[in-house]
Amino acid sequence: MSALVELVDLEKTYPVGGSTFYALRGVSLQVQRGDFVAIMGPSGSGKSTLLHLTGGLDRPTAGRVRVGEHWLQQMNESELARFRRANIGFVFQFFHLIDNLTVQANVELPALLLEKKNKKAIRQRSTALLERLGIAAQAHKHPWELSGGQQQRVAIARALINSPTLLLGDEPTGNLDSASGQEVLHILEEFNALGQTILMVTHDAVAASRARHVLFIRDGLLVDALPGGDAQRIARRVTELQ
C-alpha cells in the first residue's frame, strides 16, 4: 500500500457501431505519493481515458483502481462524487469554469460542497490560493473576463482548494499560449515541490519534461517510461512511438 495510486489490469472498451473499441487493454501502474507523472501518447492512445478512470470520472470495463485507501470500482455514483470532492483535483484543457460564478466563487465551490459550515476558513484558503497564483485582483470578475492563462490558474486554484490527495491534469497547457503554458507548469512544479502528487496527460514534450516521470502509452498499453527533465529525448521517443 505504499503507492498512492494503483491501477491494476485496467481495461476500457467502447462500442463503436457493431464492433468494440479498446481504449485501454490491461494497464497496470503505480504512482508514488509526491510524484509528478506525465503521460504522453498520440491521439486516441487512451491517455485521457486513463486519467478519467484514475479520477473516478468513468468506470473501467475490467481491472481495479485504487487511490489512497479507496478502491473506486466498489463505489456507487454518490460515493464516487464524495471521493472526488475530497481526494481529487482536476485541471482541464478547456478550464471548465462556471460562467455565472465569480472567480472566487468558482474556486470555493468544491470546498463549499465538502465543508458546509466553515465558510470563513474556505474564504481564507481561496484568497491565499488566488494570491499565490497571482490572480487575487481578479477574484470578483467572471471567467469570461479573464485571459486563458488566468482562467487556467483559476482552475488550478479550484483543483487545489480541498488539498486533494491527487491532482489530475488533462492537457492543462493545451489551450494556452507558450508563456501562459510555462506559467501553469511552473505553478504545478511549485505545488509538487510542496508534496502535491500530480498525474498529467499531455501532447507536449516540453510540458512532460517538467514532470519527474514520463510514461508513454500507445493503443491502450503503457509501452515505455523515462525520467523527466530532457524534453528533446522525450520528443524523440514520442516520434519513435508514432
Binding site: H52, S78, A81, R82, I98, N100, L113, L114
Partner: protein
C-alpha cells in the same frame, strides 16, 4: 437556403425531445385557443340564434276565454303585419305535484308533429318530444331549474273530476317566448291536445292565446295597439313582447357571459403567453449556437429565417393536432355552456374558427420567434459564444446575497444563482407558472365565495326557510294555522304587485306584512323600512336600472289602475335574489287600499330551531288535494353557476398542466445548456442527488415567485370579475372570500409542480456521463 434547411433538419433531429415538447406546447395552446374561440362562438347572440332557429313568435297574446271569438283570432292572423301565426293555443292553469311540492303550471296543448308547428317551435334540450297517442308530458326547462324536475320523473295532475293522474316527463323544452320576468305566466308543461282534453274535457274552460310572427320584428307595439283597437275591451288580458323576453334572457345569462368571457379571454392570453414563453426560452437557450452560426458565416437574416423556419415546422405539426383535439373535446364543456345560455350548441366546425386557429397560432409562433431570433441575430458573436443570451451579473443580486447570508446549502445557492443569472428566461417561466396560480385562485375564490353564499343564503337575500301558498283558504285562516304551528317561529305575507314608472318601465313590488323583524334581512346600504311607513327598500338592480339612490322618492302606477301614483322613499338597499335585483319591497299597508286583492297569497316562514318539516307538511297539507301548499327553500345558488365553477377549475387544471410541461421544457433546455457546467460540478464532487436538488431548487424558487405574484393577481382578477357580475346581477356588493390557508397551501403545491416539472430533467442531468461531456468539448 439549403444551409438553413439543412440546419433546421439537423436541429429537429438532434433535439427530438425538446422539439416534441414544443410541439406539445403548441398543440396544447392551440387546443386552448380552439376551446376559447368555440366558447365565444357559442356565446354569440344565443337568444337571437335560438329564436331564429325555432322561428319564434314576436308577439304572444293572452285572451279572456269568455270574450275572445274565433273571428277575432282570424282577423288578427290576417293583419298585413303578421307573417305567420301559431293559431289558437289552448291551455289550462293547474297545480301539479312535482315530488313533494305542488306547483302552479300552465298545461299547454301543442301539436304532436313539427310540420303542424310553423311558429315558435320548442327546443328539446333533454329527452324527446311528445308522441302521438301517448299520455305523457314535456316540461319547460324552468321546472328543472326551479324544482329539479328530470326526464323520467312523474308529475301528478288533478283532473277536472278531482282524480289524480300521473304523467311521465319525457323531455325538457325551451320556449323562446316564456318570459322569465315581467310575466304572470307560471312555468309551462306541454301536453298533446288529446291529453289536455282527457284531463279537462270542457273546452270552454281552456284559456286561449295566440303567437304572431311579424314582418317587422320591431313593430310589436304598433301591432299591439292595432289589435287592441280591433278587439272589444278586456278581450286581450296580457301579452308578451319578444323584446322583453330577449332582455330577460340576456339579463339571466349575463353571469354566464361574464364567466365565460373571462374564461375565453384568460385562455387566449394564456395560449399566447405559453407559446411566446416557450419559444423565447428555447431560442435564448441557443444563443451560444447562434454565435457559432454567425461565426461560420450565417447572416443575421439567415439566423432569423433559420429559427422562424424551425418553429413554423413545429407549429405546422402542433397546430392542427391542437385544433383537432379542441374540436373533438369541445362538445364536452360547450354543450352545457350553450344549454346554460338557452341556445343550441354550435360545433366549432366552422371555417372562420378553423382559419383563425390555423392562422393565429403560427403567427404567434412567428412573432415570438422573430423577437428572440432578431435579438440573437444582432448579438455580438464573441459575447454570444462566451456567455449566451444573458451575461452574468457583475454583482450577485440582492436575493442571492440574502440567500448566501441565510446560509442556504450550496446546491440551493447554485440553483438560485441560475435563476438570477438568466432573469429574462426566469421571468418567462415564472409568468407561465403564475398563470396556473391565477387559474387556481380564480377557481378557489369563486368556489369559496359560492360556499359562503350557500352557507348563508341571507347574503343572497333568501331569508326564509319555507314558502306557503294558498288557494281557496282565506288569509285569516292561513295566518291562524301558521301561528298555531310549533314548527313555525315567524312568518310574513307577501303580495306581488306589478307597477310601472311614468316612463313606462315596469317591475314588481314585494308588498309585505307580518313579523318582519324575526327575519334576518340583510341591508347592504341604508336601513330597513319602518313598519307602517311609506318607505321602501330596493334591489341594486332596480337602483341601477332607474338611476336612483337611497333617499330618493320613487313614484309608480299600479298596473291596471289609472289613479294617483303611489310614492315611496327608498331608505335602504337589499340583495334581491330574483329578477336581476329589479324589485322593491314595501309595507303592504302603504298600498293595500289600492289593490283589488290586498290579501297575501304567499307567506314566507322562518321555521323554529327543532322544526319537523314532515310534520309541518302534513299539518298544512293533510290531503293530496289540500289547498295550502308548502315548499321548503331549495338550493339558493343556480345550478349553472356550479357548472361554471367546475369549468373554471377545469381551465385551471389545463393551465397548470401547460405550466408543468413548460417547467419541464425550460428545465430540460437549461439542463441541455448547462451540460458542461453540470459535468464540471460532478467532476468537483457534486453527487447525483445534489444535481437534482440544484435544478429542483431553481424550479422550486420560480414556483414560490409565481405563487407570490399569482395569488394577489388571481384574487384581484376574481374580485373585479365578481364585482362586475354582482352589479349586473343586481346583488350589490359581493363578499369575495379566499381562505388564507388555501392561498398558503398553493405555495407548496406550486413548488411541488415546479420541482416535479424539473425532476426528470434533473435526473437526466444527474445521470450524464462526465466523460461524454468532456469529450464533446
Amino acid at each position: 437556403m439549403d444551409a438553413i434547411w439543412l440546419k433546421i433538419k439537423a436541429d429537429l433531429r438532434s433535439r427530438r425531445l425538446v422539439a416534441a415538447l414544443i410541439t406539445l406546447t403548441i398543440a396544447a395552446a392551440s387546443m386552448l385557443l380552439t376551446l376559447a374561440l368555440a366558447t365565444l362562438v357559442n356565446m354569440d347572440a344565443p337568444y337571437e340564434r335560438t329564436f331564429e332557429a325555432l322561428n319564434g313568435a314576436h308577439l304572444w297574446l293572452y285572451f279572456d276565454r269568455q270574450l275572445v271569438r274565433r273571428r277575432d283570432i282570424e282577423r288578427i292572423a290576417a293583419l298585413p303585419e303578421v307573417v305567420q301565426s301559431t293559431g289558437v293555443q289552448y291551455s289550462v292553469n293547474s297545480r301539479v305535484r312535482i315530488g313533494n311540492t305542488r306547483v302552479w303550471v300552465s298545461l299547454r296543448a301543442i301539436p304532436e308533429s313539427m310540420e303542424d308547428w310553423p311558429v315558435n317551435r320548442l327546443w328539446i334540450e333533454q329527452g324527446r318530444g311528445l308522441q302521438r297517442g301517448q299520455l305523457e308530458a314535456l316540461a319547460g326547462k324552468d321546472l328543472n331549474d326551479l324544482y329539479h324536475l328530470q326526464v323520467g320523473d312523474r308529475i301528478g295532475i288533478t283532473r277536472a273530476d278531482g282524480k289524480q293522474v300521473e304523467l311521465p316527463v319525457i323531455g325538457l323544452a325551451y320556449n323562446p317566448m316564456w318570459d322569465t320576468y315581467r310575466n304572470t305566466q307560471p312555468p309551462y308543461v306541454y301536453l298533446s291536445e288529446d291529453t289536455l282534453r282527457a284531463l279537462y274535457p270542457e273546452q270552454e274552460s281552456w284559456d286561449r292565446s295566440l303567437g304572431l310572427r311579424l314582418a317587422d320584428p320591431e313593430a310589436t307595439q304598433a301591432v299591439l295597439t292595432q289589435i287592441e283597437a280591433m278587439l272589444r275591451p278586456d278581450t286581450l288580458v296580457t301579452h308578451t313582447d319578444w323584446h322583453d323576453v330577449r332582455r330577460a334572457a340576456v339579463f339571466g345569462a349575463r353571469i354566464n357571459f361574464i364567466f365565460l368571457g373571462a374564461f375565453s379571454l384568460f385562455a387566449i392570453v394564456a395560449a399566447v403567453l405559453v407559446i411566446t414563453n416557450n419559444i423565447s426560452s428555447t431560442v435564448l437557450a441557443q444563443f451560444r449556437q447562434i454565435g457559432v452560426l454567425k461565426a461560420v458565416g450565417f447572416a443575421p437574416g439567415q439566423i432569423v429565417l433559420l429559427y422562424v423556419g424551425e418553429y413554423v415546422v413545429l407549429a405546422a405539426i402542433g397546430t392542427p393536432i391542437g385544433l383537432a383535439a379542441g374540436i373533438v373535446l369541445s362538445p364536452l364543456p360547450l354543450k352545457n355552456v350553450a344549454a346554460s345560455l338557452s341556445a343550441t350548441f354550435r360545433p366549432p366546425w366552422n371555417l372562420a374558427l378553423v382559419a383563425a386557429v390555423l392562422t393565429a397560432v403560427p403567427l404567434i409562433v412567428i412573432l415570438a420567434t422573430l423577437t428572440s431570433a432578431y435579438r440573437g441575430a444582432r448579438a455580438n458573436i464573441i459575447k454570444a459564444m462566451a456567455v449566451g443570451a444573458e451575461p452574468p451579473r457583475h454583482r450577485p443580486s440582492l436575493p442571492m446575497r440574502l440567500a448566501t447570508a441565510l446560509g442556504l446549502p450550496m446546491t440551493w445557492l447554485l440553483g438560485l444563482n441560475d435563476v438570477f443569472a438568466r432573469p429574462w428566461r426566469s421571468f418567462l417561466t415564472t409568468l407561465n407558472l403564475a398563470l396556473g396560480v391565477i387559474g387556481i385562485v380564480f377557481g378557489l375564490t369563486l368556489s369559496e365565495t359560492l360556499d359562503t353564499y350557500r352557507n348563508d343564503p341571507s347574503l343572497l337575500g333568501v331569508v326564509y326557510d319555507a314558502v306557503v301558498t294558498r288557494g281557496q283558504t282565506g288569509d285569516a285562516q292561513t295566518r291562524h294555522l301558521l301561528s298555531r304551528s310549533p314548527d313555525v317561529e315567524a312568518f310574513y305575507g307577501q303580495v306581488m304587485v306589478d307597477v310601472e314608472t311614468a316612463d313606462g318601465r315596469s317591475f314588481q313590488v314585494r308588498a309585505v306584512e307580518g313579523n318582519l323583524a324575526a327575519f334576518p334581512f340583510r341591508i347592504t346600504q341604508g336601513r330597513f323600512f319602518a313598519p307602517g311607513s311609506d318607505e321602501a327598500i330596493a334591489g341594486q338592480g332596480l337602483l341601477d336600472w332607474l338611476g336612483l339612490s337611497i333617499g330618493d322618492l320613487i313614484s309608480v302606477q299600479i298596473k291596471g289602475e289609472h289613479g294617483v301614483p303611489v310614492t315611496w322613499r327608498i331608505v335602504g338597499q337589499y340583495p334581491e335574489p330574483v329578477n336581476t335585483g329589479q324589485m322593491l319591497m314595501v309595507n303592504l299597508s302603504s298600498l293595500a287600499r289600492r289593490l283589488k286583492e290586498p290579501q297575501p297569497r304567499t307567506y314566507y316562514l322562518k321555521l323554529s330551531a327543532n322544526a319537523d318539516t314532515a310534520r309541518l307538511k302534513k299539518y298544512l297539507e293533510p290531503r293530496p288535494d289540500a289547498d295550502l301548499n308548502l315548499a321548503l327553500v331549495g338550493q339558493a345558488i343556480p345550478g349553472v353557476v356550479i357548472y361554471l365553477q367546475m369549468a373554471i377549475f377545469a381551465l385551471a387544471a389545463v393551465v397548470i398542466g401547460i405550466a408543468l410541461v413548460n417547467v419541464f421544457n425550460t428545465s430540460l433546455l437549461t439542463v441541455h445548456e448547462k451540460m458542461r457546467t453540470v459535468g464540471m460540478l460532478k467532476t468537483v464532487g457534486m453527487t447525483p442527488a445534489q444535481v437534482i436538488t440544484m435544478i429542483g431548487a431553481a424550479a422550486g424558487f420560480l414556483g414560490v415567485l409565481a405563487t407570490l405574484a399569482g395569488v394577489p393577481a388571481g384574487f384581484a382578477l376574481t374580485r373585479t370579475l365578481l364585482a362586475t357580475f354582482s352589479k349586473a346581477y343586481g346583488f350589490g356588493q359581493v363578499q369575495v372570500v379566499l381562505n388564507p390557508l388555501y392561498a398558503l397551501g398553493l405555495l407548496p403545491l406550486m413548488v411541488a409542480v415546479s420541482v416535479l416539472g424539473s425532476w426528470l430533467p434533473g435526473r437526466r442531468a444527474a445521470g450524464i456521463s462526465i466523460v461524454d461531456v468532456l469529450r464533446h468539448e
